[in-house]
Each structure stands twice: as structure tokens, then as C-alpha cells.
Symmetry: C2
């Protein structure tokens, strides 16, 4: 429980100082001066005073219980402090001091010792190397930040102290307050997962903002983030988008999915909102703080200028929002009350000479229209424009309980109006695109909630033969085989065991064996030599498009002769036969084990083109059948699956089965590093893997306990 | 010449009034009070006074010459005013009054009469329905805007008066000034083309901003925009991005290219910078106003916080900029002078406790490094941060003559520093992403200039047989044929005449004619029945993959029998033969005549997938060979043309020949509305159109004068 960090009854500042230039002074003073109501003790090994108050030389001298220690002594002295605190049963500490893992190996070692010591005492520790904690509800500013935010329902945690100070400064200027404000520092003990868990249950927090540079435990993070998102919006900025680390080149999958793709997928799957910049973070937090639920994506635009109105219509057209179609009644009322030149369709243009009364008519009508889920109001300061009065009318319109986002475009003239809107908690933006984007994010969050809370009757997952796969993989691991494709140890056999249909085939047939193959597999077929060589085509060992028995024979002799010419002996008279699947759409399925988040599954249309365009849908395993179906709909080229331009309409359920099977396979076998299934041929009738490979993670432990 | 609009020696305000609520008062007063140095006359049919000055009842009563009339009388009275002005030889007029084409048919008619009258007198007219003109150099505010911008080197024109007032208001608050500020209104006479022409030669204008809702003459616009862009940056916001008007469904091309694509292409081709929002317009204008030339795309990032530094590195990685690699000397000096924990690579992290001196060291070093073309400075307000001092150091660093974009992230604390930067003309942004994006736009403009001014030795354009194509098209037009494909009137023959190679083929062969076809065309071939039927495949009239003489014969009889079964008589014993081109990449080439800008040419990789993803490059004809080559490199899937994944590397010159030919064909034959060439099969050896169709514009006049 982190309660002691936010509402402690007593705080001891270890390293409190009367020297105004020291952090020990700043932190002690911040706690005192902003009105913390509990007991405050100052501790300094040298004794002395802060103001009128005597400092203790050691925390043990303090009589009462201490809920929270805030430590600002130099790094080298902290281990001893922890022991003192432990002996006094102090349950919680913030280490503000720096000089730990952030400065290198030496500091890292010190940090580990401190962690050990604090764990021994069961003490929870925030930091080191952090700004501290501010809690506007208990009026506790246990940080060296030089200001105290106003009370509000937004909590923030940040891995960067610099970002903390910048955000605080920005928030002061823009009259945004905070509930809990947490600087994580080096995350020695308490990390984003603890904070997410705490804030999800915190009644004083309705919105959570986070700035992250790394995630400690991806799987826990996803669980916590989702848990929180189902209760309140979580908006995250993560720096380090493109730093993808070392690139795998063993598979397509490795190339496609860098580490940022994994985090992005994790956030999306958890229902968290990813902000691309601090600017977006601020924009989004404003709309969530001030808006009621947005029940759908149908937006009305009201403007006193045509240009911005059209620009908003454009923006909406490209977003997940859409322009509301007004009811007949709404249109009629608007037509009656607005001048003839005004546009009474959506966007509503009340014209440049429109005063506040026209905004009033338009707002009242569209907000009562059941085809409207939210409103965007745009104003430009023209000669007749009544700016403050319009602001008041917008404030009045809150009564309809629908989200309203506003942009008064301009400078000094619109300032007073914007001020009014801020005071009365109407989200207002300098530019209309930002208002529209924020409304879009608001809608997307409530849409996530709606679909997440809907009880889904999912398709029963197919049984998978884990034992059989274990038996195939075990010898591969033992042989230190990096890649499983075709052959004795067959990727196809593994796929089959997990509900991923594979191409009909027969291995190592001689001329006699070919006799009945047409009847069994059906023409056309592909024939490949059975000799063990990497590039079978290069030695004339592959014939495609075999349509009948006579072509089959001809192909057999041709391959046999060419292979013998190339001086192959073993299996030179044997061939493998594959059903040739001409019909259907080529699909790419990939999987990649992420050390932090678990298996990432990748779905896209196959072929060389689409890979070049990186049009993929991602999920982290496990994936339900319903989620797998969603993936097929998420890619930009989704319409190709629905019978585009004379192609067959794919059986999406069969594709989803393959996705679910692949996700399950990855979870069951952590020995697998990556899988490519390329292509998976999908049509209205079937969905068949034509080729695929499995890359093993030879560095990981072979678990394989299933094999007796 | 528009000189009279900006530096008139004398102005008459027609409709000047003493009534403070009237535009006639506002406009007259604005001219007077902001310090216009020339003569100012007030005219009002009722006479009277404004202040101490007597009003003339008619412009003819004025003794001296009048360079510019500003008209604010009601719409109905204006025709007479124009005649009065004409008789007095007034060369220029601004009609501020509204009530014209913007209110409907009646107003449109009135506007036309006024246009006729003014043209009769050779009078140039701005408006009607506009805000007017402000010129900070002649201190003339001939508008009803309530403020006067400071002198600066930025000029602005806008088709929306509302946008004008919003921009002025914004600019006042943000201490941005203007040179010429022009509200276009209804563009009855003077339009964006006149303004572009004027501003390109205007010494008081170094940067041009434009807000457009429509373009009057696309071809002139492109010429003027390019002419201007070669001298100074032109930044344009256009509203109405997605409103694509009626969609053509006759061809792929029609579907792909909406009207916004055309304008976007026109702007790009002209070197103009398109801003997506007013916010971007402001951001970009700031960096152009304050920055020296940016000679390359190598950017150094300096920050006192790790998170924002990484975010900037990410942003740069995804932009056309790149992170500079410092010279050894730079790294060495940084390592010597910055603390051990600081990052001395790019991005440079001077650490949270860094004071102004560290910024100074870093700035001086990286700006002297010849591997650095520009710098991004990021600051967060931490305890030790010296904000104003850092601002001064940045200002000092201007001396190195390289662009610097700055973001001080925060609120009140960083305000004074930001103020300093603004005053000394350092482009500064609230958020670092905006600084980075602006720097990117700056680079892209100078890169455009560099490549535009480089003298290109272009490949000699091939001769095209215009006469032959005229002879093919003429009967098609006469027959009112909408679409030309194969047959008597052949799209292939037209393509051939314009250097677009087409598939080898032979038409209407009987059994005898087939005998030598293998030798002539070469196997494999496709055979199609020569009967005139739309869906030849449906009646068994097509056989593909014919590999030798015997298959040829078999196919012939199969087709003949099936066609006869289907009761076709004419030509039932004849077939067409096409070379089957299996090897290579399928390319899509399209062309579409835009009524305003001329032919738009579209290039992309073919196949159903890429069309679904809309990955195309666009140009407006004419297209040089060098530009055509650039198109092949511009699409996201460009690498597919360069020998991707075992595909052949395409002969890009041959593809460019086809693009150039298509562009020439469209220019020579305005009868053509749209062309699809789909696919064009390109490999290392050839580039051959396998299918294609031409849609005629039967509504346009058949010009065809070439045909005797």
C-alpha cells in the first residue's frame, strides 16, 4: 500500500537544513509552508535548527511514529539512514538524492545495497534521484519543486524529474491543477506498476497522466494499465519511440516489429491513450478533466467563419469522428432562425456578422439533436462578434451533458473569452485542429470502454496438441537448430498441432509413390526434390503448375536427372509434393517474443508490396478469437479481404483461428523466438500456410517438461 | 501593377462617415490615425464632416489625382461609384462592402456588372466583400481591422476576412508584424495570381503567407507560385482538403485523385510550403522570418533533460532531417568540458544541473562543427537552470550563421527567457516537436531551392507522333466513344506513338496466321478470341500460358469450338495473340485532366494491394525525364523497384520514358479525360503496357485540327 506516501500523518526529512541553498532546506520548507497538517520532523546529523524548530541528530531520537521519511542526504550516507529508518519501523521513504544507477556502475551497486536493506525492513522506497511527491489533497509538497499545484482530479507520474518541473510550470501558467504528482526517479523499488495500481483505486484521481522512458515489467504493466483504463483514462507519453535496439535479421517478423511497436501495442490493448508529445498530453488531459461521457462519434461544428468550418469538416473526415447528420427538426429550426446565407447543415456557419444569439440558437438546437454526440465551436473575432457573451452561452450549454470543445482563434481580443471558458471548465484550444483531435481521443476512450465492458461470447478455443509440439521441438533444441522449416523436423507439423492449417503435402515419394498422389492431394501440385539442399530451384529441383498424371511423370524424371547431374546421391530419386494453392489472398502472420511484454503477433496482407508499406496489425498474446477478427479489420488494406476487385472474400474466421493458434503456440513454447508464416493463403473456402519458419531462442532454457 | 494599392500618394474613402458605428468611419479613421502620409479625402453623398475635415459629396469634386479609392457604400450604390471613379481616372479601388456573389445569384449579377464597368476604365479592383489592405511600410491601414501590425518582412494574403482578423489578433499578441496584409474577398478582379506576382517582386516582402479557399487559374497559379518560391518562401493554408466534388468512376485514376490531390501536387511542384493548419502557418513563418539559410539536414540537439532529447532524436529520425554526427574535435571538446555523466554524442545532454555555461560550450562547439547544419535547443526549468542567461547565450550564437530553433518547455518560469529570444529574433516554440517540425520545413525549402537552381541536363524527349494519334482519336470522338481499349481503335496504338511501349501482339489470326507467330512474338503467349465481346473469359475465349506450337494449336481449336458453341459468327475463327510477360513488377500509370491545373499524372506500384493503400506519386504535366525519375523514388514502396526480395531491378529510365510520354499525350490531346495504364510491366530489360484504357472527354471540343 502506498497510502503513506500521499497522506502520511508524520514526515521526517532526513537531511533537513537551515541553509537556503540546500535541497534539505527546500524540501523541509515546502512541506511546512504549503500547509501539511501532520507532524513534521527535521533530522540532520549535525543538529541545529530550521527556523525556530530544533533538528534531531538521528531519526531514532524522535518519539512518535513516522509514516514517511524524505531523504536528501548525500548518496554515500543513505545506506545507514535506511538502517536507522528500518529500526524505527518507518514503512515508507522517498530518496530524493542522486548519485545512483544514473551515474554508472558504482552508483548502481550502491543502489542495490540500499534496495536490499530496505527490503529487509519491508520498507517501500520511491526514487532515488527523483523530485519527490506532491499531494494537493493533504497539502503535502514533499519535493523540491518551487510551486504547489491547485487541487484537481488529475494525477501524474513521471520517470523524468525535468519533465516534472516543466509540467508543473506549464500547469501553473495554464491553471491546471493536480491531485497526486509523483516523480519516479530511478524506480529502484516503486515503479509505474505500483503507481498504476494505487491510482486506479484512488478516489481523488479521475485522470492519470504518465511520462515513461522504460517499462519495468511489461506483462504486469499491461494488466495494471488495463485495470486502470477500465475505471479512468490513462494518458501516456513515452520517449524513445524509434530506438529499436539491436535488429533481428533472422525473420521478417524481426524486421517489422521494433521495441516501440510492442509498447504501442501494449498501450493500445490496455486501453491507454498514447500522447505523441507533451503538447498532446496537455490537450488530452484538459478534455478528459472537463467533459462528460461522449456516447458516439457524431460531431456538430458551429463556426462564424466558413474557412475554419470547412477545415474542421476535413479534419473530422479523416478522423475516427464523423460529421453528425442533423434531424429534420434541427435543420428546420436553424433555417428559421439563422439568416438565409447561413449554412444550416453541418458544419453550421452562422456567418461573420453573427452575434452571440446565433451561437445560442445553433448550440441549443444541435445539442438537443439525438444525432449529435459532441460539438466543436469555432470563433474568429470579427467586428460584430460578441466574444465573452458567446463564451457564456457555451458555458450555459453544458447543461445538455454532451462534450463541447472550443477554439477561439486569435490573440488579445479572444483572451477574456478563453479565460471565462477555462474558469467554467470548458475545454478550450488555441487552434481548432487541437480541439477536434482532443474530441477524437475522448470518443476513442469511451468507445474502448464500451467495447471492453460489453460481455463477449467468444468462440471456444480449439484444442492444441502441446505434447506433440514439444516432441518436435525437443530434438531441434538439442541439435542447437536455430531455424525450423521443412524436413524431418517440420514447422508445418507444429502449425498443424495448433490449428493453423497447412498445405496438403507428401514427402519423399518415389515414382511408385507418385501414382496415387493426384487422387489424394488433387492437381495442380508443386514438386520439389527431396535432397537436402538449400536452394532447390537453383539445381532444377522444383517444378510448379503440374496439372495431370503425365506432367507429374515428366516432372519427376526431369528433376531426378537434373539432381543427379548436380551430383546429389542421397534421396535423389525421391520428391516432395505440395498442393498448389493458386486461389486466394496471401497473408503474412508473424510472431516475436518480447522479453518484457511476451509474444507479439503480427498480421498483414502478404506479398512484397505490403511489407514494404508496413501495413500490419499487432497484438500481444494471448489473443481471443474476437480480437483476432478485429486485427483482420484494422489494417489499411483490410478491404482486400472482403472480396476486392474480383478476388474471393476470405473466410475471416479461419484466419482468426490461425492467429489464435499462433498466439497460443508462442505462449506455450517460450523456446520459440520468432515465427514467420508467409504466405498463409486465404480464400472463401480455406486458409492454408504454404510456407513458414520457426526461429528458436537457443539462449533461453528449454522447458520441454512435457516430453517424457 | 498593384503599386497603387500599397503606396498610394492619395486615397479617397467613398462612404466615409462621422458615425462611429459605421465601417465608413472605421476605415477612414484607420487610414488617418495610423499615420498614412499621403493625401486623404472623404467622400459621402450626404456631405458632412469627419472630425474637422469636410467630406466631398462626389469624388469628381476632388481637385487632385486619386491613386486609390476605398469603397464602403452599400452594394447597390457601387456601380455608380465605379463610373464616377472611372471618369476621374482613378486606377485602383478596394471594395470593402459585401452583398455580392457571396449572397447568391442576385449579388453575383451585380458583381459582374461592376467588373465590366471597372474593366472598361482599366481600373484594378480588390474585393468586394473584403477586410481591405494594411501596409505597414506606408503606414496605411485601409481596412476595418482594429489594429496595426508592426513592420516586418512577412506579407499575407487571405481569401477569408475572418481568418484575416484572427491572424492579426494572434500576431499582435505574439509580436509578429506584417509588411503587406491583403484580404482578397470575392476575387472579382484581383486574385491570388496578381498578389503572388506583385509580392514576388516586392522588396519589402521576404516571406509570403497565404490562406486560400479556391484557386482561380491553376496553371497561372503554378507559374506564379514557383516564380515566387524561387525568390522567397511561400507558405499556404488551403481549406477544403477532403471535399473532392463529384467522383468519377470510369477509371481507377478518377478514384485515386480528388481535387485536393491536384492542389497538393501543384503546391509541391511549385516549391510552395503547405501548412496543415493556422498553427503550422504561424510556426513556419517564425522560422523563415528569423533564420539564415539551412544548408543541409544535419541537426544537433542540445538539452538539459534526457527524455526530451530522446524524443527529439526520435522525431528527427522520422523526418527529412537527420541527427548530425559530430566531428572528433567536437566530441573531444565536449568531453573535456562537460561532466562525465553528460552525453557528448548527438543529442547532447548537458544534464539537469547544467547552467548556462554548459549550454554555451555545447552551442559554440556544435555550431562550429562543419557536420552540423542547424541546432535544436531544448530547456526544462530545473533548480540550477539559468533560463535568461541561456537565452542570451543562444542569441549570441546567432553569429555562427546557422539556423537555431529553441524550445523552453514550461510556463511562468521560462516566460522571460522566451521573451528575450523573441525580441532578438530567435524562433522559439512552446513544445520541442514544433521547433523540430519548423526546422524540417526550413530545410525542405532550401533543399527545393538548391535542386531547382541546379542546372539539369535532362534526357532529350522522344519524338511523339501526334498526327497518328489524332487519326486514331478522331473517329472515336465522332462515334461518341467514351472509352478506348483494344480493337479497331486501339489504346495500345496511341501509347506506342507516345513512347509508351506496349505488349507484342498480333490481331485476327487464323490457323494459318498462327504458324509463324511463335517465332515472331516468342512464347509464352496469351490467346484471346477476336470476336467482339466484352467478357471473353466467360465464353472460354481466353487461354493463358501457351508455351509451344502444339499448345498453340490446341488452344486455337478450344477457343474456336467454345466461341461457336456460344453462337458467335463473325471472327469466330480468328484469335488475337499477346506476348505473356510474366517477369517484372506491375506498375500503375494514370492521368487525369484537371479543369483548372491541367493533366495530373499518377504513378504507383500496381496490383490490388497498393491501390488499396493509395501509395502514389503525383505530378502535373508537363513532366521532365528527371522529374519522372523522382516520381519513381517518391512512393513509399519505391524499394520494390530496386530489386527487392529477388525481384528484378527495374529499368527506371524506361519507366520514366512512359511517364513523360503519358504527360505529353495528355497535353497534346485535351480530348482525353483520363487514362489508366494498368499494368505496366517493368523489369531490368523492358517496360511494357499490358493493358490500358483511355476515357474521352466528349463534352470538350474536339480540337483534332491535325487530321487533314
Amino acid at each position: 500500500m502506498l497510502k503513506n506516501f500521499f497522506a502520511p500523518k508524520s514526515i521526517a526529512v532526513i537531511g533537513a537544513s537551515h541553509n537556503k541553498k540546500k535541497l534539505g532546506f527546500l524540501v523541509y520548507e515546502n512541506i511546512r509552508k504549503y500547509g501539511f497538517k501532520g507532524k513534521l520532523y527535521g533530522v540532520n546529523i549535525k543538529g541545529g535548527k530550521v527556523g525556530a524548530k530544533e533538528l534531531y541528530k538521528n531519526v531514532c531520537e524522535i518519539d512518535g511514529e513516522i509514516d514517511l521519511a524524505v531523504i536528501v542526504v548525500p548518496a554515500a550516507a543513505i545506506l545507514e539512514v535506511i538502517h536507522d529508518l528500518g529500526r524505527k519501523n518507518v514503512p515508507s521513504a522517498i530518496i530524493i538524492s542522486s548519485g545512483f544507477s544514473e551515474i554508472g556502475v558504482q552508483g548502481k551497486k550502491l543502489e542495490e545495497h540500499i534496495k536490499e536493506a530496505s527490503q529487509k525492513y519491508g520498507m517501500r522506497v520511491l526514487g532515488p534521484n527523483c523530485l519527490g511527491i506532491i499531494d494537493s489533497w493533504s497539502k503535502m509538497n514533499a519535493s523540491f519543486a518551487e510551486s504547489m499545484p491547485a487541487k484537481m482530479n488529475i494525477s501524474l507520474f513521471s520517470q523524468s524529474g525535468a519533465i516534472c518541473t516543466a509540467i508543473l510550470d506549464w500547469a501553473n501558467k495554464n491553471e491546471i491543477g493536480f491531485s497526486r504528482f509523483i516523480s519516479l526517479g530511478n524506480k529502484m523499488d516503486i515503479d509505474e506498476n505500483d503507481i498504476l495500481h494505487f491510482l486506479s483505486q484512488d478516489e481523488k484521481t479521475d485522470i492519470v497522466l504518465g511520462y515513461l522512458e522504460s517499462v519495468n515489467d511489461g506483462i504486469r504493466f499491461m494488466t495494471n494499465a488495463r485495470h486502470l483504463s477500465l475505471k479512468k483514462p490513462l494518458i501516456v507519453v513515452k520517449s524513445g519511440r524509434t530506438s529499436e535496439g539491436a535488429k533481428s535479421i533472422a525473420s521478417h517478423t524481426g524486421n517489422i516489429a521494433g521495441s516501440d511497436v510492442v509498447l504501442d501495442t501494449a498501450l493500445k490493448q490496455s486501453g491507454a491513450i498514447r500522447a505523441d508529445s507533451l503538447e498532446d498530453l496537455f490537450d488530452y488531459s484538459k478534455i478528459f478533466a472537463f467533459s462528460p461521457e461522449m456516447k458516439g462519434n457524431r460531431v456538430a461544428v458551429i463556426s462564424n467563419a466558413g474557412g475554419p468550418a470547412v477545415m474542421m469538416a476535413d479534419y473530422i473526415g479523416k478522423s475516427s469522428l464523423k460529421l453528425a447528420e442533423f434531424s429534420q427538426k434541427t435543420r428546420k429550426v436553424l433555417e428559421e432562425h439563422l439568416p438565409a446565407e447561413a449554412s444550416c447543415h453541418n458544419p453550421v456557419d452562422i456567418m461573420g456578422d453573427g452575434r452571440a444569439d446565433r451561437y445560442e440558437i445553433a448550440l441549443n438546437e444541435v445539442l438537443q439533436d439525438e444525432n449529435v454526440d459532441g460539438v466543436l465551436v469555432v470563433l474568429t473575432p470579427q467586428v460584430m462578434t460578441e466574444i465573452e457573451k458567446t463564451a457564456e452561452i457555451i458555458i450555459e450549454a453544458k447543461k445538455y451533458g454532451k462534450p463541447i470543445a472550443v477554439s477561439f482563434i486569435g490573440g488579445e481580443k479572444v483572451e477574456a473569452g478563453k479565460q471565462l471558458l477555462e474558469e467554467k471548465e470548458i475545454p478550450s484550444y488555441d487552434f481548432p485542429e487541437r480541439a477536434a483531435r482532443s474530441l477524437e481521443v475522448l470518443y476513442e476512450y469511451y468507445d474502448f470502454l464500451k467495447s471492453a465492458l460489453k460481455k463477449k461470447r467468444d468462440v471456444q478455443e480449439k484444442e492444441h496438441d502441446q505434447n506433440k509440439v514439444a516432441q518436435i521441438i525437443k530434438p531441434a533444441v538439442e541439435k542447437r537448430l536455430r531455424t525450423i522449416t521443412e524436413g524431418d523436423i517440420s514447422a508445418f507439423d507444429i502449425f498443424d498441432s495448433y490449428g493453423i492449417c497447412t498445405v496438403d503435402r507428401a514427402y519423399e515419394l518415389d515414382l511408385d509413390g507418385l501414382k496415387h498422389i493426384g487422387g489424394k492431394i488433387g492437381f495442380p501440385v508443386v514438386m520439389k526434390t527431396a535432397v537436402d539442399v538449400l536452394h532447390k530451384t537453383d539445381i532444377g529441383g522444383v517444378v510448379t503448375g503440374i496439372k495431370n498424371e503425365s506432367e507429374l511423370q515428366k516432372a519427376y524424371f526431369s528433376i531426378r536427372d537434373r539432381v543427379r547431374e548436380a551430383k546429389f546421391q542421397e534421396n535423389s530419386d525421391k520428391v516432395d509434393i505440395y498442393k498448389q494453392e493458386n486461389r486466394g489472398i496471401e497473408i503474412f502472420l508473424g510472431a516475436k517474443k518480447d522479453p518484457n511484454f511476451g509474444p507479439l503477433i503480427i498480421f498483414g496482407i502478404g506479398g512484397i508490396y505490403v511489407e514494404a508499406l508496413k501495413d500490419f496489425a499487432y497484438r500481444i498474446a494471448p489473443i481471443s478469437h474476437a480480437e483476432a477478427l478485429k486485427m483482420t479489420d484494422e489494417i489499411k488494406s483490410a478491404k482486400i479481404l472482403h472480396g476486392y476487385r474480383g478476388q474471393p472474400k476470405c473466410d475471416l474466421n479461419k484466419i482468426a483461428d490461425s492467429i489464435v493458434g499462433l498466439s497460443r503456440l508462442m505462449l506455450d513454447f517460450p523456446e520459440i523466438k520468432e515465427i514467420d508464416i508467409n504466405p498463409l493463403k486465404a480464400s472463401d473456402k480455406k486458409c492454408v500456410a504454404l510456407d513458414g519458419k520457426i526461429i528458436l531462442d537457443l539462449e533461453s532454457l528449454p522447458v520441454l517438461e512435457l516430453v517424457k
